[in-house]
Symmetry: C2
Subunit: 299 residues, 2 copies
C-alpha cells in the first residue's frame, strides 16, 4: 500500500442502508446505533432516509431519529438520504445540513427504485439544490455505477458523464455505488479512469468482492467509502443486492495496512454484536464472526 | 491488472481440504467430484490424503479413490497429501506421482496438527523424498505462513527460511498457506519480499480476505493458487479456520480481469451446486450463492 492514502474517510450507512431492508426497529435503537457508531470513531453517519414510510417502513420516523440525536460534536456529520424535493425540505426542517440523493445509471433500476427516468431523477438534483440553498452539502450517489442486472455493464464514460451532469445540477460530491455487487478491480479502474479519484465508493458484497474492490480503489487513491456496520443492507428494489461492505471488515483491513480510519475496531465489533441482536439475525461481516486477525486461540 | 500474469494455475483442493472437515461421503462421490472438476477445466486436483482414517474419517479410502479415478489425460495431475513417509509409500503404491506435504511455520500448530515439532516435520520432507525418489513431484505447503492463532504474527524472513530448508530437504515447489485467515495484502507483500513470487498460495477465507489476498498476490506476480470448489474446507485442528478460497470466486474474478484460468465458470457452478447437495449444506462461495456478475434479472 505504498501509494495508498494514509487516511480514508468512512461514511457509515448502517442506520440507513443497513436497516432499510430489515424489520423496523424503534427510533430509540436507531438513535443508540448512531451514537454508538460515533463513539467508536465514525465521523460521518447516514442516520435516516426521508422517504415514504409506506415504501420503506424501516425508515419511518426519520425526523424523530434526527430530533433525538445528540448535537453532533465538531468533526461529526449526520447525513440523510432524500428521494426528492419534499424529502429535502423535511430533512432541512429536521436540522440536517448534509444530504445524499441517488441517481441511477440504470434506466430500469431508476424506474423500479424511484419511478422516474434517469433524466427525471437528474432534474431532481437541481430541484433539491434550489430547496436547500448553497450551504447544505449534497452528495449524489450514482447507483448501478458498475452495471445493473437489467442492462448489464454500463459504459464508464456514460456513468462519469452522469456524474458530471449531477455536479452541474448542484452536487458537491459524487459517490459511485455498486448496487448489485458486479464490480471487480478491473471495473473499478475503468470507472476511475473516467471520473478521477475524488469520488466516494459505495460497495455491496453480493459476490464477495466488496473488499477487493475497496482495496483496488484505495490503491488507486480513493479515500471515501460508504460502509455499513455488520455488512447489513441491500436494496429492497434490486434483485440480488447483497449487504454493504462491512465497516468492521474495511477497518480490519485498513488497520493492518497502516491506513488510518479513526475507527476503533474493538468498539466497532461491540456495536456490530449489538446490531445483530437488534435485527435478530447473524450479520454478514466475516470479521464480526471470526474476530480480528490478532485474536489468539485460548488454548 | 496490467502487470499481472496472463494465466494462473489453480490446484483444486476441494476433494481433500474441502471434504476433510465434512461428514464422510462415499468414495464414488469423491471420484465423481474429481472427474467433474476436471471436466470443468481444472488441471490439478488434490484428490485424497493418505492419512489415518481415525484422525480424519472423511479421508478414509484414499487408495480406493485413486484406483477408481480415470487415467489422468495429458495436462491433468492428481495430487495427494501425505503426512509422513508411510503415507508417501501408500500414495506411490496407489500410482500417484505428485504429492503435497505440510510443514507448519507455527510450533504450536505443528504439535497439534501432526504431533511433531517444526524441525521434526521438516526432517520428514527428506524422508518422504528418499521414499518416493526423484521422479515424484513434491510440493511442501508451509501452513500458518502468515501467522497463527497461537504465536500471532510470524516473521516473513523466518517463514521464507523454513521454505528454503524444505527445498534443501527435497521439495520441488513451495506453497504458503494462510491456514487461519490472518493474511492481508500487506502480509502478502511482506512474505513475497522474502520468498520471491515463484510460490503457490493457499488462502483461507476466515475473515473474508481470501479474495483480496489472492488479488494482491496476482498483482505481485504469483500464478499458483490452491482453491476449493464451493469454498469448502477448514482445518479440524485449527480453531477459527474458515473455508478455502472458493474456486468459483477466484475464477469469477479472473474471468472479469482477463486472467485466464482454463476453468469454465458455468460448469464449475454446476459442480458447486452438486457439492452443496453432497455435503448437505450451503457452501460458503458468494458467487455460488448470487451467480456470476453477468447474471441478469429475469424481469
Amino acid at each position: 500500500m505504498t501509494d495508498a492514502a494514509p487516511r480514508i474517510a468512512i461514511r457509515e450507512v448502517g442506520p440507513r442502508d443497513g436497516l432499510q431492508p430489515e424489520t423496523p426497529v424503534p427510533v430509540a435503537d436507531r438513535v443508540a446505533l448512531v451514537t454508538s457508531l460515533v463513539a467508536a470513531g465514525v465521523r460521518t453517519v447516514e442516520v435516516a432516509a426521508f422517504v415514504s414510510p409506506k415504501a420503506v417502513p424501516a425508515m419511518a420516523g426519520a425526523a424523530d431519529v434526527v430530533a433525538a440525536l445528540p448535537a453532533a460534536r465538531p468533526g461529526v456529520t449526520y447525513v440523510a438520504l432524500v428521494p426528492n424535493r419534499r424529502g429535502a425540505e423535511l430533512a432541512l426542517d429536521a436540522g440536517l445540513a448534509a444530504l445524499t440523493f441517488t441517481v441511477s445509471a440504470s434506466e430500469t433500476y431508476s424506474q423500479r427504485n424511484v419511478g422516474m427516468s434517469v433524466d427525471e431523477s437528474l432534474a431532481q438534483v437541481a430541484a433539491v439544490r434550489s430547496v436547500v440553498g448553497p450551504a447544505v452539502a449534497l452528495d449524489v450517489v450514482i447507483s448501478c455505477a458498475f452495471g445493473s442486472p437489467y442492462e448489464g455493464d454500463i459504459a464508464p464514460a456514460d456513468v462519469a458523464a452522469l456524474g458530471r451532469r449531477a455536479v452541474d445540477g448542484g452536487a458537491d460530491a459524487l459517490t459511485y455505488a455498486d448496487t448489485t455487487g458486479v464490480a471487480t478491480p478491473r471495473r473499478v479502474a475503468d470507472l476511475l479512469a473516467e471520473t478521477g479519484t475524488d469520488v466516494g465508493f459505495h460497495l455491496h458484497d453480493t459476490r464477495g468482492t466488496a473488499l477487493v474492490n475497496a482495496y483496488a480503489a484505495m490503491e488507486a487513491g480513493v479515500v471515501r467509502f460508504d460502509t455499513a456496520v455488520g455488512g447489513l443492507g441491500g436494496s429492497p428494489f434490486a434483485a440480488g443486492a447483497g449487504g454493504n461492505l462491512a465497516t468492521e471488515d474495511l477497518v480490519h483491513l485498513c488497520d493492518d495496512l497502516g491506513v488510518t480510519t479513526g475507527v476503533d475496531l474493538d468498539r466497532l465489533l461491540g456495536v456490530s454484536a449489538w446490531v445483530a441482536d437488534l435485527v435478530g439475525h447473524v450479520v454478514p461481516s466475516r470479521v464480526a464472526a471470526a474476530g480480528p486477525r490478532t485474536r489468539r486461540h485460548p488454548g
